[in-house]
Symmetry: C2
Subunit: 294 residues, 2 copies
């Protein structure tokens, strides 16, 4: 990546503010401050029928962050972000409407709606997001953690995604944007022998070398193949809700990412993700609720 080149991730999550356009008043707050942004959903981030849910969460968080920055808030980083996915997004133009929920001492809290035009040109919501922004750079250094980083074989002993099911690869453009090396202990599904444990883990970085930051961690939390592969379920598992917590600013280098599920029931499963950075710090956690493949 040349010094003056914009990374694929930053290009994919770029938002352009519409000057002097307020998004209207809102049900939730009196005299809410609002912003409207335009974005382009690039097909390079496609997975299955739509754009990757993690990329959309990063995009929405970027819009919220720019909205707060323009208002002079001193809370530059997403701390907690919840996405409610309500329809499948497609490559093409998108609009983001952002409003301030509340600005307080510790957090600035915002809401974003991501919309695209439907077949008749009417705005159709794809994703509704709530987010707390804070200042992770000023975080308390007291760490008492019983969580331990995953034990992974060295990067060169892990394997790429070329062994994923062909029907998965056929609609997974985003795999070209990431460098993912999966732990061989949990890729038996590629040979027809899933472990049944409900786990996937591996090394991850962006393919063009862009280092991680809180925004790219939001994407990384949803970048691996679905954990249902390890249960022998190869269909599509649409995310209905994903909540991410960014727990620390990530150090440069490879990320270690784990996905696991403990309860597939009633047509849903939860998928928990953890991301550890190169200095063994737990930098992000998420849980998503997804629909079980039929």
């Amino acid at each position: 990546m040349g010094e003056c080149t914009v990374s694929e991730f930053d290009e994919g999550t770029a938002v352009v503010r519409r000057p002097d356009e307020a998004a209207g008043t809102t049900a939730g707050t009196m005299a809410a401050t609002t912003s409207v942004f335009d974005a382009e959903l690039d097909k390079g981030w496609q997975i299955g029928g739509g754009i990757n849910g993690g990329l959309l969460l990063s995009l929405a968080a970027r819009a919220v962050g720019e909205h707060f920055a323009a208002a002079g808030a001193s809370h530059p980083y997403p701390v907690s972000v919840s996405g409610y996915y309500v329809s499948a997004s497609r490559p093409g133009p998108a609009e983001l409407r952002v409003e301030t929920v509340r600005t307080a001492r510790s957090h600035s809290t915002g809401q974003a709606s991501l919309l695209q035009a439907d077949d008749e040109g009417l705005p159709l919501e794809r994703l509704r997001v709530l987010a707390h922004f804070g200042d992770l750079a000023r975080a308390d250094e007291d760490v008492r953690t019983s969580a331990t980083p995953p034990q992974l074989p060295p990067v060169e002993q892990c394997i790429g995604t070329e062994h994923a099911p062909p029907e998965f690869l056929a609609s997974a453009n985003l795999l070209e944007r990431i460098d993912l090396r999966l732990d061989p202990a949990y890729v038996g599904w590629a040979l027809g022998k899933p472990s049944g444990e409900g786990r996937l883990q591996g090394w991850l970085r962006l393919a063009d070398g862009r280092e991680s930051d809180p925004l790219s961690l939001l994407f990384a939390l949803d970048a691996l193949p679905p954990v249902t592969f390890d249960l022998g379920l190869f269909g599509w598992t649409p995310t209905v809700e994903l909540t991410a917590h960014i727990r620390a600013l990530p150090a440069p280098g490879w990320l270690r990412v784990t996905h696991s599920t403990r309860n597939l029931a009633g047509g849903y499963l939860e998928e928990d993700c953890e991301i550890w950075d190169s200095r063994d710090r737990l930098v992000a956690q998420s849980r998503q609720l997804a629909v079980v493949p039929r």
Copy 2:
């Protein structure tokens, strides 16, 4: 509880729709359907400085559910609910503004804002909520779970909350509304010897005998003392975000509730909760992000 008596929980989460009042247009959707409700936050649900966060989440979900029911939606139960807490609520009147985000085949998705008047009588937001509603009664019966219910001593060998720190009990009215029996293995903190593991677990039911349903599970996910007691931290741990997933309709009887944390860092901790019902089914899961006591 007499047959015609309203339970304390249902009284505490009652909402009264304002006739023919729309909450205004919204930033997120075109021509959003909106409702406004009035509620009363009863001091009986107080804990520390404010009203219990789980009770507020139940209250907001009840308003969203009534909003959808009035619109004829066939999605009666909360499946996923995320609350972003932005200021501490107080006993007294509150207003709930609810809007439809989207109604689709599997889910109806809504948003709620809970507001109270500030010292000058202006509306101040306490809590912003997103929720997917669905139909848990029609859920797929396929269950593949590796999660196992907690091993608890019998109810009569567990202990009440009378041994909690006096400063906690002094502002914990809500303990009178619940029957909570904690596992002795994780109440060493009451004797000055916290286990340090970051775990609390016990049996829980509503004191007046009201059986559980998805709405009361939202409260039960945040009804135990903070898990930080088991780390020897006895200050106040305000919730900043809580996402709950209701995974099945609960059976009657005692609930088993576990709380745990694995990562206290950067001034925050996550607190994971699971609730198991009397037929050994995992009926609810949640994670909250809370502020570490100083």
